[in-house]
């Protein structure tokens, strides 16, 4: 799980062009939206693209997005649950 989280941090930084953020700056349990990384709605769409691009995962139910994208750890947990890690 830790290796996946680290990999995911790098992919998020690249996909979202977070040029001033380093992987170590991202707390895997911090909220991705709001107070945490301060991502916006376009970033949410980019995270959906990230899952498709790197892990071939399509989110079938949009309502699941809130839970999946709560934090880096919740994303990693979801990826593992899909057997794609």
């Amino acid at each position: 799980m830790d290796a996946l989280i680290e990999k995911l941090k790098g992919q998020i930084i690249e996909q979202l062009n977070l040029a001033e953020v380093k992987p170590a700056d991202i707390n895997p349990d911090a909220a991705l939206f709001g107070d945490g990384l301060g991502l916006d709605s376009i970033d949410a769409l980019e995270l959906i693209v990230l899952l498709e691009k790197y892990y071939q995962i399509k989110i079938k139910n949009p309502a699941d997005g809130k839970t999946i994208f709560e934090s880096v750890r919740s994303m990693a947990t979801f990826i593992q649950s899909q057997g794609k890690a």
Partner: protein, 209 residues
């Protein structure tokens, strides 16, 4: 009503001139490196900058450079400050990037972050968001820099409720950056005490040259 230019920034490819003074940056052939150097030089401290397309980066750098070191934003109200821009290439540079991402049906992965920049007036939105400006705005597309067109539209907005404006040309295509952004205000005794340029076509052509 006499309108004057109180500050300006001219960017042509790797060269930046602010109020007649050239800004020295490391020579870069890659536009993204040039923009990154300019971002650092002007201490923009605005992480969202890195997510923008090149047209918006160019507009943000030029407008920030023109605004730096004067109190234009402090002495003018947000709701009566207009943004009037023009260019030739519209958002074609970003349009092509988006097109490439949807050409191959087997690798159909358009980027939402790219798609949102496939309109030229987004650069106006980025300026307005960064500086919290809520006045009138207009983006024109024309074949070449047209000083009179910019002046005409500026006059029209000042005839309404506009009291100040960020105006200019912001064009980016195929790695070529070409921008002249200038601040327009109504002449007053306090402003006229500083260096200013009358707003007319000859003056704009001279700044753009």
């Amino acid at each position: 009503m006499e309108l004057i230019i109180t500050s300006y920034c001219r960017i042509k490819n790797n060269r930046i001139v602010v109020k007649g003074v050239e800004v020295t940056l490391p020579k870069q052939d890659v536009p993204s490196y040039f923009f990154a150097d300019a971002y650092k030089h002007f201490e923009m401290n605005y992480p969202k900058f890195h997510k923008m397309d090149n047209l918006s980066k160019l507009g943000l750098i030029a407008s920030d450079a023109a605004l730096k070191g004067n109190d234009f934003l402090q002495r003018n109200k947000a709701e009566t400050t207009a943004i009037i821009m023009a260019n030739k290439a519209s958002s074609l540079d970003t349009d092509r990037i988006h097109q490439q991402s949807i050409n191959d049906k087997d690798h159909y992965l358009p980027s939402p972050a790219t798609f949102v920049y496939t309109l030229p007036n987004i650069v106006i939105g980025e300026m307005a968001i960064k500086h919290k400006l809520t006045g009138e705005n207009l983006f024109c597309i024309c074949d070449a820099f047209d000083a009179q067109l910019l002046i005409d539209h500026t006059q029209i907005t000042f005839d309404q409720e506009t009291k100040s404006a960020i105006c200019g040309w912001v064009d980016y295509d195929n790695g070529n950056a070409d921008s002249l952004i200038y601040l327009v205000e109504i002449a007053s005794d306090s402003i006229k005490n500083t260096n200013f340029i009358p707003l007319n076509a000859a003056a704009l052509d001279q700044l753009y040259k």
